[in-house]
Structures are given as C-alpha cells and as structure tokens.
Symmetry: C2
Subunit: 156 residues, 2 copies
Amino acid sequence: MIILSKLADYGVIVATQLAAHPERQTNAATLAEETRLPRTTVAKLLKALAHGGLVTASRGAAGGYRLARPAQAISIAEVVAAIDGAIGVTQCTIHGPDCTRTDFCSTKPHWKRINDAVGTALAGMNLAEMTPAAIFAQWMKLPPKPGPTDGQGAAR
Amino acid sequence: MIILSKLADYGVIVATQLAAHPERQTNAATLAEETRLPRTTVAKLLKALAHGGLVTASRGAAGGYRLARPAQAISIAEVVAAIDGAIGVTQCTIHGPDCTRTDFCSTKPHWKRINDAVGTALAGMNLAEMTPAAIFAQWMKLPPKPGPTDGQGAAR
DNA sequence: TTATAGAGTACCGAAGCAGTCCTAAATACG
DNA sequence: CGTATTTAGGACTGCTTCGGTACTCTATAA
C-alpha cells in the first residue's frame, strides 16, 4: 500500500524545486521542465498549492509562482494537505461520528495515536531539508558513506 | 486523504474481534455478525490474514479461524501489510529504482524518515491493545475523563 | 492593445478497490 | 460411507477515485 498519492508526491517535488531557488519567480512551464513532470499536471499542483497559501502567484506576462514563506517554514504536511486534503489513518478519523460502528468499534480511539505519529513525521520535515543543497550539506557532514546503500526495505 | 484502505481498516476490526476471544474458534459468518460487516468481505479478509500467517484456519464443519499467535505478538503493521501489502509513503519507496527521476530527485532520501515513522507507529501497537478489555483497563487508570471529547480534528 | 500566464471549471480514461460468486478441498456428524 | 458444513482459491464485476487534459476567463506587462 502506498500512502501518498502520486499528485501529493509530485507536489512535494514541485515545491522543493521552488524552494531550491527562492529568489526567482518561476512559471509553471519552467517548473515542469525542471521536474520532468507534465506541464498541465504541474499547473494543477501549483494552483492547489496557491489555494493552500503555500505559494503566491502573479498573473500576466512574466508572471509565475514563488514560495509564500521561507522554505524552512513550510512543512511537508502542509504541502500534502494542500493537495490531498487532511491526513487521516482511517475513514472515521476524518469523518467523525458518521461511522455506523462508532458505538461499539473498539479500535477507533487507537487510530489517533497512529494518526498523530504520521502527522508529526510529516510536520517535522520542511521544504528546505528536501532541497539538493540540504543533501549536499549532509554529505559534507557524513563523508564516510559506504556506498549507495539505499536500503529502504518494504519487501512485499 | 486517507491512509488505510477500507479493507485494511476492516481487517484490523476483524482481527481485534478475534483477539477479544482468544480461546474460541470462530467462523467467518459469526465474525461478520459481530462486526456488522458483510459476510463475504469478512471471509475475504480472513483469507488474507490466513495467507499472512496471522490467523490459522480449520476447515470443515465446526471449522473457523483463530489467531496464530497471542494478540500481544501481532502488530497492527502486520495486519495492514497482510491486506494492503507493504507500507510505503511514495511510489519509489516500494518500487525502488524504477522511477525515472531517481537520479535527480532530491526528495527521495527523505521519505525514508517519514516512512519509518509510519512503520514504527503501526508496528508499535498490537491487537491486544485494541480490544475492549484494553480500553476498559485504560479507563480504570484514567478515571477523571472530562467528557466525550473525541477531538480528533482533521478538518478539511 | 496584445501577448502572456495563472484561475477556474468541466471532462475523460484508466486503474484500483470493494464486493460477489463459484468450484474445490477438508472435516464433523449421522 | 455419505452428507452437510466451512474454508481455500480463484475469477469476475460495478463503481469510485485518481491522474491527466482541454477550454475559457481574468489579470498583468510591454
């Protein structure tokens, strides 16, 4: 199972690209080229991000997008929420008392703990940390990297 | 956005029901009644859980299902994985190097941290904690509960 | 005034999910 | 030994949602 939708994933990539060049104003087409994503999809994502108040848009010729705040102040949770909506583990976490099993479902209270863990993980990382510059800085600090050990298991 | 699929959610409910009565052998129809879920769906879930080695099945008349291990030894992560497959935040977390953007995508290394957080949260809770008995025990420990403050926000 | 670029909306196709059904195999009971 | 019961393991289907596209409108710079 995959947690993030493709679009949310792309959204983070686009936002990160924006964060990598904070000074410039970038239009959707350029961003699409740089991220190798379809132009139309990028435009859609940027609209969602603008709607969420994460980026500011200027229309017209020479228009484009720009982060509304410093990259350090924008969490991944916000980016995801702007595109996919609020994050919840189960149906009832989002919908609340609509669930017909509310009265006798013993599992419900516990999802909150898991929900919070996910939220905290997503909120604890910001766009600045995602940029290549941040990765370069990490390399400088951890020079003796053994190899390309990507090792993220997730064997099915 | 909702993280768990409906089926995974249901799977936990069914498994919890099984955990609440560890001694008995229960068939799919009974479990369906007790959880108010469609019989066929419950059967499907139990098959998946059996496939994952979480429950043992005995066929034939008077057959049924039973937890393969003590409830304390079965984590929610296992239940979810048995039904929805391995847990990953993004496509690349699961698929690995198939992603065409692997070479220049700066966000990739960071997803692991989030991924691990989710995995840890799911792995850190077991079926025994989900049962009504466990909830009752909690109530005994925290008597001054102010009210029915469900307060799990997630406003969209 | 015109070209450019975002805003908003509507739409379509594909994919995945939830749910159903059917046949085969195993076991208890008469 | 035969029958009823129950799980195993498929295949199949309808539907929702997601990803992606197209079109029109509005705002801005030159």
